[in-house]
Amino acid sequence: MKIKPNRREFLKGAGAIAAASTLPLSTVEIAFADSKKNFTFGYISDSHIQHIKGNQFVNNWDRGLIRSVAEANLMQPKPDFVVFGGDLAQLGTKPELDHGAEMLAKLNYKTYHVLGEHDYYLDLGEYWSELFGDHYYSWDHKGVHFIVLNSIITFKEWTFDRWPTPEQRMLEMAGLDNPNGSPFMVGDAQRAWLAKDLEKVSKDTPVVVFSHSPIQKLYKGWNFWTDDAEQIQALLAPFADATVIYGHVHQIQYNQIGNISFHAVMATAWPWPYPSTYAQAEHTMPKLTVPMNRADPFFERDATGWQFIDMSNGRVSMSYNLANNTNRTVAYDPASGKPVDTQFQDVGNRVPPQIHY
């Protein structure tokens, strides 16, 4: 299905955004000797487009995606592509995926798609594939090897034998805190594919993996978790510059495990609490992370946003464009060998809204 943007509607939206003149765009420092290699890309994720009935959708979530698309179209310098990080839909239905695809079609850039659990568990990604293609794949771009994984599959028994209807299966997985859910994983078949895909990539080529769930184990209760994370990390270990960018968590997170940098992205729909704020749970949050601001629910878009990513040194510099907050940049620091927040990393620079409890 191809949906072309309506030109008049696009110009109207762009004009409104430009008039607000709040665009958080910055220029890019050049680090590669070969400046042709420098590029940026956009990252939009977790829009959770939610169908009410007929042609009605939850307005709040629609606005998040519409705003991100409009802002991404005004990026300067222009990104080489945009990634949509999964959970376009809330319950994986055709109306939700169609409505989301229509909004995303207004992007002026080549868009790559990652599959989220909310897109998947109704029909196991069948309609999503009709719209967006393969569940996992890779490509090369200006000296960087990019990989998209489907990291949200789970045990066969849970997927095929446990639930009387696909609708119930979707609902059980859609509840983040539902104890009837099941841990995410990449699985044997895809890991075998990944090992083969990486064979042909030289070890000094920067590798960037896009997944929906974190390829690390943070908190199992909310599936801030990938069950075979260590095995995927082992496949990435031989590469000098490896990065994983993931959605699902709706919050700022970053981490460094060995040579692998991890960056989470914000949702366009709503923020999630940090697992550390759930008093009954054990969790392991990355110590490195300076949290996002605690959300103010009276501002509908607070603690939501989208990202643009500068790849000029083969590592990620992640700029968070936050609709109602001060923007943040988390960039790989070659001196310390890990991602750091460019403004707030020092404890003395933190602000009270970054304290979560």
């Binding site: 959770h48 509840g175 709503w270 009954q280 009276f298």
Partner: protein, 137 residues
């Protein structure tokens, strides 16, 4: 004659107390009593948990749990507190009503509505063990 009425009245009161299962000895209760009372509370917590994930509390299908998994980020131990966006000190249930009206696009609940009590019971249960800290931001 008057004495007869007194005795009848006392008998009626005693019978009523026996029916509702209340001991005349107020300071004595058993493990069985405690277990039953905890069960009563937990049944309301369970009602609250069901409402927390329900698409029917508001009008747009959005559920409380979508933004607040396990009731997190609701901070029941900090209420009543000055809700700076409203400019006054409020109880938690007023904030619950704010959420019902806004993200859920629904109607407010009466402050003593059993559903309101159930929501509050669930939120507090998920926060058990955290020290009271009214007014905290």
């Amino acid at each position: 004659m008057r004495r007869k009425y007194v005795w009848i009245s006392l008998a009626v009161v005693a019978a009523a107390l026996a029916v509702v299962g209340v001991s005349l000895q107020a300071d004595e209760f058993t493990d069985t009593d405690v277990e039953r009372w905890q069960g009563e509370y937990m049944s309301v917590v369970d009602d609250g948990r069901a409402l927390w994930g329900s698409p029917d509390l508001g009008t747009n299908g959005v559920a409380c749990g979508q933004c607040h998994p396990n009731g997190a980020n609701t901070h029941p131990e900090t209420y009543p507190k000055f809700q700076q966006q409203l400019g006054r000190v409020i109880a938690l249930r007023e904030m619950i009503n704010w959420c019902l009206m806004n993200p859920l696009e629904g109607e407010v609940l009466e402050l003593d509505d059993p559903r309101m009590i159930a929501l509050e019971a669930y939120i507090s249960y998920e926060r058990r063990g955290v020290a009271l800290d009214p007014g905290k931001h």
